[in-house]
């Protein structure tokens, strides 16, 4: 321990960009719950994907062993992150790639803009990427006169409609086919005016719309699903072939990736490429995976750049009990099983990262003191379904509870007068601290029966406890406390045994 101890932890530097929700979760959730179309689409989508996932996961006799390997690999990556990054950098650079480091969203955006300008381009094609969404790259480029074209079908739909993604895997899941047709008719200049709303025709329209762009683009921008430290390789998984187009045809390729995406070695990919597709789309394998190591002469982009992004990841890493949130491989399995997400949808979480993983990742990246994000760890019933579904076994419920306690702690520091909750908790602590006091209070139980009506339900509690009874009744307390019952029961047993 002492040999690697590096001194006192520095003050964490938090992330910026599209990580902050604009309003507290309960406010956003209440509004989203009114959207019946969204709820119907989401219910259908989450149930369909999770059923598919269960089927293909059940096919593998070694699924749990793969999860164990995946989880341990990611823990090892976090423990060795600085050295692995240096190793990756050395290998990527040796093969002709160029690495750039970005402390935050603004720095990453500037780097990408300058690289595009250096390539003499004023438009770029893009592969779906969470990292570039997190830093708000498209908006930034637009402000600087550069057009960024999303090429993934769902991202294209969302971009054409000037909307925001609602799911990290299927970002346009909140829209149905006729809405998508209307968006295409309105926003695609060269579209067939007789376009129908069959998915095959809509996909064809997207193909035609983007074909010329792919063949003529000078610069492409991507994220990365994995980076291999021992070889300097980057990997992107996708379905449509838009990724292959972007990663293969332009002269310049710029990839933006969070520092936590590393894997130590090439053989680790054999684990993650079994875990990711099955957890994500419920497929045995996604249609296309591309891997590239720096520059290959005569094949693909000859200018290859990688922007390594911190933007709050070092702060999340500094939280010993929260750092495993960085193990996330963005599969979205946790969203599809979450009862809260299923009803509110992704927009309610505000940040680029929605659902259970977003509820921990966003506040870890921005700090729990970011006022609106502090509500995110409460956006859960703690049912634990996300933990069971997570391919790398991130204990999301445990981190949610940890962050709730961090939130309470941080509020305690700023509040001068104790609130009702503080007083009540203090009283409860005093009462429960001694068996005698507890017994004394229990004597008052029959009073609770009085408070309940003839239907034995308490419908309205006073003070802050009113929040509890606003949407549910409290059953009247029993006539006898457990302690009383226990004492009496033992008295009987004792006398029987004696007899």
């Amino acid at each position: 321990m002492s040999s690697t101890y590096l001194g006192m932890p520095a003050v964490p530097v938090y992330g910026s960009g599209n990580l902050h929700t604009a309003e507290p979760f309960p406010v956003a959730a209440r509004r989203e719950l009114d959207n019946e179309q969204l709820r119907a689409n989401l219910g259908h989508a989450t149930h369909t994907i999770r059923d598919k996932r269960l089927r293909v996961v059940a096919e593998l006799p070694d699924w749990e062993e793969l999860r164990e390997a995946g989880s341990a690999t990611k823990a090892a990556v976090m423990a060795r992150l600085p050295e692995l990054l240096e190793q990756f950098e050395e290998n990527f650079t040796a093969r002709g790639g160029v690495i750039h480091w970005a402390r935050d969203a603004a720095e990453a955006n500037e780097i990408v803009r300058d690289l595009i300008r250096d390539a003499g381009a004023d438009e770029v094609v893009k592969v779906k990427s969470m990292a570039t969404q997190e830093i708000g790259l498209n908006e930034y480029l637009e402000e600087h006169g550069i057009s960024a074209f999303e090429t993934d079908l769902a991202e294209l739909i969302v971009q054409l409609d000037h909307d925001k993604p609602s799911h990290i895997l299927v970002p346009a899941i909140h829209k149905n086919r006729s809405q998508i047709r209307d968006i295409f008719l309105r926003e695609m200049p060269d579209v067939d005016p007789n376009l129908t709303d069959t998915p095959a025709r809509l996909a064809e329209a997207a193909r035609l719309h983007l074909r010329r762009k792919f063949l003529s683009a000078k610069v492409a921008i991507s994220g990365a699903n994995f980076a291999l430290a021992d070889t300097g390789t980057l990997a992107v998984v996708e379905s449509e072939g838009n990724g292959r187009m972007c990663l293969t045809l332009p002269e310049t390729l710029i990839t933006v990736m969070g520092v936590e995406k590393l894997l130590p070695s090439w053989t680790d990919l054999e684990v993650f490429m079994q875990l990711l597709p099955r957890s994500s789309t419920g497929e045995r394998m996604n249609p296309y995976t591309s891997l590239w190591t720096g520059v290959t002469e005569g094949d693909g982009p000859q200018n290859v750049h990688l922007v390594l992004l911190d933007n709050g990841r070092s702060a999340a890493l500094a939280d010993e009990r929260g750092r495993s949130a960085l193990h996330c491989i963005r599969c979205s399995a946790c969203m599809n099983v979450c009862p809260v997400y299923e009803r509110t949808g992704g927009h309610a979480y505000g940040s680029t990262y929605p659902g259970p993983i977003g509820a921990i990742l966003s506040p870890l990246l921005t700090g729990i003191t970011s006022e609106e994000n502090a509500s995110l760890p409460y956006a859960s019933s703690l049912c634990g379904a996300c933990y069971d579904a997570c391919p790398v076994k991130i204990n999301i419920p445990e981190i949610l509870v940890h962050l709730r306690s961090e939130d309470v702690q941080s509020r305690r520091g700023t509040k001068k007068v104790p609130g009702q909750m503080d007083v009540a908790m203090k009283a409860a602590s005093w009462m429960m601290g001694s068996g005698r006091r507890m017994a004394l209070v229990e004597k008052a139980l029959p009073l609770g029966k009085l408070a309940a009506g003839p239907d034995r339900k308490i419908k309205k509690l006073p003070g802050i406890a009113a929040g509890w009874t606003r949407s549910r009744d409290l059953p009247a307390p029993p006539a006898q406390s457990f302690r009383d019952w226990w004492a009496k029961e033992h008295e009987d047993t004792a006398s029987k045994e004696q007899a």
Binding site: E65, A69, L153, G241, G298, S314, A318
Partner: protein, 206 residues
């Protein structure tokens, strides 16, 4: 301070508790123990599930099968290094070589592509191309709308770890599991978006 130094410093300081890197348990399957016939059957089943075309032939029947699959295509590209006998019966061949690469526009005007592959994974229905002779550069197998891929039975592995351990990752790798597809509209799967809309796999028995 440079961004690089600062980020690495932040990360080192974030690890102030010096967490230990755990041993990675690798108790998952490293081989399937299947024989050639079983591997062919499993690969065929998986590819059909992805809506790819699959034929299983002897080496001698490859030229006729390739010609049959390319019927109706006016032209096709083959990467230099592909066994010429395989495409001997199909008219319209154009060769792409490192010395004389076709332009993107030229590739866009070609209907189909015929390639070999480096490996295939039966359990996941995956074909892996690594850019070696006979497989060509990535643009070749991407732009034409119809991909005919020849897979030697000896290159089929049961599970992913077997294949991964036989590949050189520093080559540009493309893993292909069925034709291009999307489920972005109401989760309804549509085969064929930007990549080749038709994938035909010809498995050659040893």
């Amino acid at each position: 301070m440079s961004a690089r130094t600062e980020i690495l410093d932040r990360l080192r300081s974030a690890l102030h508790d010096a967490p230990e890197a755990p041993e990675i348990p690798r108790k998952y399957r490293h081989s399937s123990g299947m024989n050639e016939e079983e591997l062919i059957e499993l690969l065929r089943d998986r590819l059909l599930d992805y809506k790819a075309g699959v034929s299983v032939v002897d080496e001698a029947s490859v030229p006729a099968k390739v010609a049959e699959l390319l019927k109706g295509e006016t032209s096709y590209v083959v990467p230099a290094g592909l066994d010429e006998r395989w495409t001997a019966l199909a008219p319209g061949r154009v060769v792409d070589s490192p010395e004389e690469p076709l332009s993107v526009e030229e590739l866009d005007g070609i209907d189909a592509v015929v390639t070999g592959c480096a490996a295939a994974v039966a359990e996941t229905g995956t074909i892996i191309l690594d850019g070696s002779p006979g497989q060509g550069r990535r643009a070749c197998s991407l732009i034409p709308d119809h991909h005919v891929c020849l897979v030697r039975a000896g290159d089929i592995y049961g599970v992913l770890p077997e294949a991964v351990r036989r590949l050189d990752v520093t080559h540009p790798l493309t893993w292909i599991s069925g034709p291009s597809a999307t489920s972005d509209i109401e989760l309804q799967r549509v085969e064929g978006v930007h990549g080749p809309r038709r994938l035909d796999v010809v498995i050659i028995r040893s």
